[in-house]
């Protein structure tokens, strides 16, 4: 450790010679006398009181004081561990060129750490610093140097330095650098390269050459640090989840890359790992993401890379699409298989819950698309309202049917229609029902699977006008349009030329029906044909690390024209442009050229890596220790003067011990887990999943529940603990809250045994699959079909849980404290499962609850969680209240068991008594 020790001011060490002098002085100068009031004072007068005896300051005190002085001397001489070599050159400022384009964002912290290391030594040599970032700033888009400034100011400046989300410009940097070197007498240049040549390779070379020739250059680059990746749409595969990944450094071994899909709330929807083959610069990834959640993906990113080019915003799917169906709300309960609304609801529920209502209701709330089945009759006033809504930018999906066929004169149509309908199968026709036409190569519905068995028996026909062809999105096998779409005012209308129900076709039975509807609904936020033809202003812009942020009003960012090819620049950073319903995503990856390495450097450049030299000043540590000892000395002096009483022998022992302690390395005290503490109160517990976000929510949720319990009930909950079933003792906790996360795998055997024992001892586990948003609308869905349930099944395959049944109205959970009939969390609906027949070993007390409503998110008092809850939950505060009541009931069941189940019999008993 001492090998790399250097003193910056070794002369000061000579002051250590003074210590013997000090020793002598201290011995001669005794401590301040104790003062005593003494009765026989007159006897003392006249005594020879000035007899002094030497060496009465205790030796250990002398040692302590000498040590303090020695420490101060050492600190003042500024010892430095592993002192790094300074930059060449003598006087004059140091020019520091920093690549801060998009490709520098990867491992940005390491770069900055390395840069900071240079600051003390530059400060020591009394040189100033000029910074030249190679990416233009967002404020004015002009590349310029900053400085000269002192090393101290430079540290602050570095603080504010961020990578940009557009490429660097080495040509402009070269020009700026030449200018700076000419203006200031630059002594040396330091370049923190990100290893890429952002523009032409020659530009980068010119920059390096200019720096080398004018002032001498130290170039930092490092293949371990400079690993930018680019994620872009696979040009040969138009599907949304087919991506291509590029990298700068071709590793000689296979690289495992994690790719993650995020939802609109920043939640992880799915994650997969793929392998970058050794030596390849580019690879394609096709991601078979689960169909039902695909539409929720808004952002795909490489997990390990926090940089703008490794983030891919999925087009058109940014927002959750709320589709409204024009229908009599009373028809909600109708489940007639002949009802058009029934099919629409079933199809739309896959993506999100459709809203049913009248024109007035639907247009009053933010609605991405309104679906108008033909069977819903609208009044003239409603038609006008709907037309105005569409003209103002609304998106209407309309189905044909007898009503439309009889009234083809309607402004709410993409194409003009002929009167009447075309019947392909009927008493008086010979025609066979017609199948669907060829899959479309382009258009909004491209890429959909066209099933062969869909046949259309009746349709409405478009008038043969010139624009019909370009407005047709899907045709029948005979070429007549089945789906057409066009603009009406600022909005759009899509017409499906047949019914939404089975009256005119079996289209509604097919998978295509669901997919097409979904695609159409998703179009409402602006697909190709409907891209705004106007200029789009920035909505959310991406920063260098790939995070979306509201644009800085002072920034230069300006509106973009979606018809022009997108070019990332300070004026137009990547991000989302447009307004709430009409926006377009511009991804950095799609706009970038192939990534180019910086290549060979001119001779005369001294190269270095980003490896930290690890320079460390020992001055603060020494000063801290010296001050501590000074404090001890003060205390000891007080002891000695009798201000604080303590036996002298004890002081001596303590001093020796303290000296020993300060000489040796400080030992850190280990916190002892207080199991005894757990027995003194009720503690709520959740299972730590290893996913920080999930654990945070669980913790906040149980804290919220704890507050509610303490406020409302006599249960006084002492605290909340996170437990690890594989290592912690569980039997202290009334129940375990166990959320399902993406990363969980099957339990290890030890954990499974622990859990099983906990259950056998009468413990209770609440599994929260947190996936109710994926479940079918009625909450039933195929059993075990949702992601969370699959995860749960996998997780608990080692635990024996008896047969489960949905909780009914007589279950103890419905009346253990509050009377409840549903159990919402962040989500509503869903089924709560419990053991069908709880074991008689535990007095019939349920030991397992399983649900998917994400209760912890609802219980949490944390501001950000509440915000998320309010955005997501349908019924707001009321839903939260019920969720809390459920939590209270749950705790009551866990604590009081079947005590309240007698209440189940209360009505019966009362009846008996009255009789």
């Amino acid at each position: 450790m001492l090998a790399g020790l250097t003193f910056l001011f070794p002369m000061l060490l000579g002051a250590a010679l003074l210590i013997p002098v000090l020793w002598w002085l201290l011995r001669v100068m005794p401590p301040r006398p104790r003062a005593i009031k003494f009765p026989a004072f007159f006897l003392l007068q006249g005594l020879k009181t000035d007899v002094r005896t030497a060496s009465k300051t205790p030796w250990w005190l002398l040692l302590l004081r000498s040590l303090i002085v020695l420490l101060f001397i050492l600190a003042l001489s500024e010892p430095v561990l592993r002192k790094s070599e300074g930059l060449p050159g003598k006087d004059g400022p140091v020019l520091i060129v920093i690549d801060n384009g998009y490709s520098a964002a990867v491992n940005w912290g390491d770069r900055i750490a390395r840069l900071r290391e240079y600051m003390p030594q530059i400060g020591r040599s009394d040189r100033s610093v000029i910074f030249l970032p190679t990416a233009a700033p967002a404020s004015d888009g002009k590349l310029r140097a900053h400085g000269p400034m002192s090393a101290g100011e430079a540290e602050k400046w570095i603080e504010a330095l961020k990578p940009q989300s557009w490429p660097a410009d080495h040509a402009a940097a070269a020009a700026a650098a030449t200018e700076v070197i000419a203006a200031h007498d630059v002594s040396h240049a330091l370049m923190l390269a990100d290893g890429t040549a952002p523009g032409e390779v020659n530009d980068s070379r010119a920059l390096l050459a200019a720096l080398t020739e004018e002032s001498g250059l130290t170039l930092l680059r490092d293949d371990r640090i400079n690993t930018p990746h680019i994620l872009r749409r696979n040009p040969t595969h138009p599907s949304e989840l087919s991506l291509s990944v590029e990298r700068l450094v071709k590793l000689s071994r296979d690289e495992k890359v994690l790719i993650t899909a995020y939802g609109a709330e920043g939640n992880v929807i799915d994650e997969t790992a793929f392998t970058f083959p050794a030596g390849a610069a580019k690879t394609d990834v096709t991601w078979d993401i689960l169909g039902e959640i695909k539409s929720r993906v808004t952002r795909i990113a490489l997990r390990q890379m926090s940089m703008a080019s490794a983030v891919y915003l999925t087009d058109s799917q940014w927002q959750q699409h709320t589709a409204g169906v024009l229908a009599d709300p009373k028809a909600k309960e109708s489940a007639s298989v002949l009802n058009e609304v029934y099919y629409l609801r079933r199809a739309l529920a896959v993506a999100g819950k459709p809203v049913l209502g009248s024109v007035e209701e639907l247009t009053a709330q933010p609605m991405s698309a309104v679906i108008w089945p033909d069977s819903t009759a609208l009044t003239a006033v409603e038609r006008v309202d709907l037309l105005n809504w569409v003209r103002a930018g609304g998106f209407l999906i309309r189905f044909a049917g007898p009503n439309l066929a009889g009234n083809p004169e309607d402004p709410l149509l993409p194409v003009s229609l002929r009167y009447g309908q075309r019947a392909m199968q009927g008493a008086l026709t010979w025609d066979k029902p017609v199948g669907l036409g060829a899959p479309l190569e382009q258009g909004p519905l491209q890429g959909l699977n066209i099933p062969k068995d869909v046949t259309i028996t009746r349709q409405v026909l478009a008038s043969p006008t010139p624009e019909v062809f370009e407005r047709t999105w899907l045709t029948l096998s005979d070429g007549t349009p089945l789906i057409t779409g066009g603009r009406v005012g600022n909005g759009s209308v899509v017409l499906v030329h047949t019914t939404a129900g089975p009256d005119w076709s079996n289209f509604c039975y097919s998978g295509l029906y669901v997919e097409a509807l979904q695609r159409l609904v998703s179009l409402s936020a602006g697909a190709a044909d409907f891209r705004a033809e106007t200029i789009l202003s920035p909505m959310l812009l991406m920063d260098g690390f790939g995070r979306l942020e509201t644009p800085d009003p002072r920034a230069l960012s300006r509106a973009v024209d979606p018809r022009q090819p997108f070019k990332p620049s300070p004026e137009t950073p990547p991000g989302i442009y447009g307004v709430e319903k009409q926006f377009t995503v511009f991804n950095l990856g799609d706009a970038l050229e192939e990534i180019k390495p910086l290549g060979d450097v001119p001779s005369g450049v001294s190269e270095d890596t980003y490896q930290l030299a690890g320079e460390r000043s020992l001055k603060p540590d020494l000063l801290r220790l010296a001050l501590l000892l000074l404090l001890v000395d003060t205390l000891v002096t007080l002891f000695l003067r009798g201000v604080i009483a303590m036996p002298a022998r004890f002081i001596r022992t303590a001093m020796v011990a303290l000296l020993l302690v300060t000489m040796t390395a400080p030992a850190s005290a280990q916190a002892v887990p207080a199991e005894a503490e757990l027995m003194t109160g009720v503690y709520l517990a959740y299972v730590e999943t290893g996913d920080q976000e999930a654990d945070r929510i669980s913790h906040n949720g149980l804290e919220g529940l704890r507050a509610a319990l303490n406020l409302r009930t006599n249960v006084k909950v002492a605290g909340v603990r996170g437990v690890d079933p594989s290592s912690d003792t569980l039997y202290f906790y009334p129940f375990l809250y166990w959320p399902m996360t993406e990363s969980q795998t099957a339990l290890p055997a030890s954990a499974a045994r622990n859990i099983q024992t906990y259950l056998a001892q009468g413990g209770m586990i609440v599994f929260d699959t947190r996936d109710q948003q994926f479940a079918a609308d009625d909450g039933r869905g195929p059993a075990g079909s949702t992601i969370g349930q699959r995860r749960l099944r996998k997780l608990t395959e080692n635990i024996q849980i008896s047969e489960l049944a949905p909780v009914d109205g007589n279950h103890i959970i419905t009346k253990s404290f509050y009377l409840l009939n549903n159990y919402p969390g962040l989500y509503t609906g869903g089924t709560l499962w419990a053991e069908k027949e709880p074991s008689s070993d535990h007095d019939g007390v349920t030991s397992v609850f399983i649900g998917g409503n994400d209760w912890a998110s609802a219980w949490s008092e944390d501001a950000s969680d509440r915000g998320r809850f309010m955005r997501t939950a349908r019924n707001g505060a009321r839903q939260r209240e019920i969720a809390l009541r459920f939590g209270v009931n749950l705790t009551m069941v866990a604590l009081s068991g079947s005590y309240k189940s007698d209440q189940v019999h209360v009505p019966y008993i009362l009846q008996r008594i009255s009789r």
Partner: protein, 294 residues
């Protein structure tokens, strides 16, 4: 402990509370100690005016004819007179020093010298009263008390007793006087007070009460001594107490010896007591001395 001392001396509130809490205790304590000494009217074992028979003696010229015991005279050849034991009650004047120097103890385990002296004084008073003698406090206006319950009254008057040479009730000739003090003041002041009394044949007993620390000066290191009596006098800083200890002890012994010499010159006695000793033994000794002296 010095702090403790300061507080006790200067903080009246604390002192008042302390005294209020302690004094009944003092009485009780005094009573306990007094009980350890055998009670009863102690005759003076000499002829005098009294009621108890002392001896028969042959008639001598000058004896009153009233004193002739005719029965004894009839039995024998000579004329006998009957003599009674001298039982005239005497007054014992008690004094305890209340100066600041008595407000001292070197360790919390020891009593304050003043407390020690007061307990001793009260116990003594109880014994004396029990013995049928009279008791009064020197330097106060308290009339000599004779009845057995007068200890309480003494106790009440005790705070009023300041200096021994404060003019108070005149001390009758041939009475007794007991001075409880540390005698840390110039001897000529004692001399000036005692000499006239000694001439009046007042029998005196001086009890020097000291703290062990005052005898041995057990401190070490560098110490600044302040005068406990007079806060204004300049303190004495002793660089090394060890170095002066021997000299101090010598001086202390010389002072005590001078005190003893002075007592003897009056025909009085000097007793020395340390607050580290139990007061019972001392009490018994004083009482014996008192009785023997007659």
């Amino acid at each position: 402990m010095k702090k403790d001392d300061d507080k006790r001396t200067h903080d009246n509130m604390t002192q008042a509370a302390h005294l209020a809490g302690n004094l009944p205790g003092l009485l009780l304590q005094a009573e306990k100690i007094a009980h350890t000494v055998m009670r009863g009217v102690h005759g003076r074992r000499r002829v005098g005016q009294g009621e108890t028979f002392w001896q028969f003696r042959e008639y001598q010229v000058g004896d009153s004819s009233r004193d002739i015991d005719w029965r004894q005279t009839a039995k024998r050849d000579a004329v006998f007179v009957r003599q009674l034991e001298w039982e005239a009650s005497q007054t014992v004047w008690l004094y305890r020093d209340a100066s600041e120097s008595m407000q001292y103890r070197s360790s919390p385990k020891l009593p304050y010298k003043k407390d020690y002296a007061e307990v001793l004084l009260l116990a003594l008073a109880m014994l004396i009263l029990d013995g049928g003698e009279q008791v009064s406090l020197l330097g106060t206006t308290l009339a000599p008390q004779a009845h057995a319950g007068a200890a309480q009254r003494l106790h009440d008057y005790l705070p009023g007793q300041k200096e021994f040479d404060t003019p108070g009730r005149a001390i009758a000739a041939r009475s007794n006087m007991i001075l409880l003090s540390d005698f840390y003041f110039p001897l000529d002041r004692v001399q000036a007070f005692c000499a006239p009394l000694a001439e009046k044949e007042v029998r005196g007993l001086m009890v020097q009460i000291t703290d062990p620390a005052e005898e041995t000066l057990p401190f070490t290191g560098r110490i600044k001594f302040h005068d406990i009596e007079n806060g204004k006098s300049s303190p004495v800083t002793v660089e090394q107490v060890d170095a002066v200890r021997a000299e101090y002890v010598e001086k202390f012994a010389a002072h005590r010896a001078a005190l003893g010499d002075m007592a003897r010159s009056f025909g009085w006695r000097l007793l020395t007591a340390s607050t580290a000793d139990k007061p019972e033994a001392l009490l018994a000794r004083i009482y014996d001395l008192l009785a023997a002296k007659g």
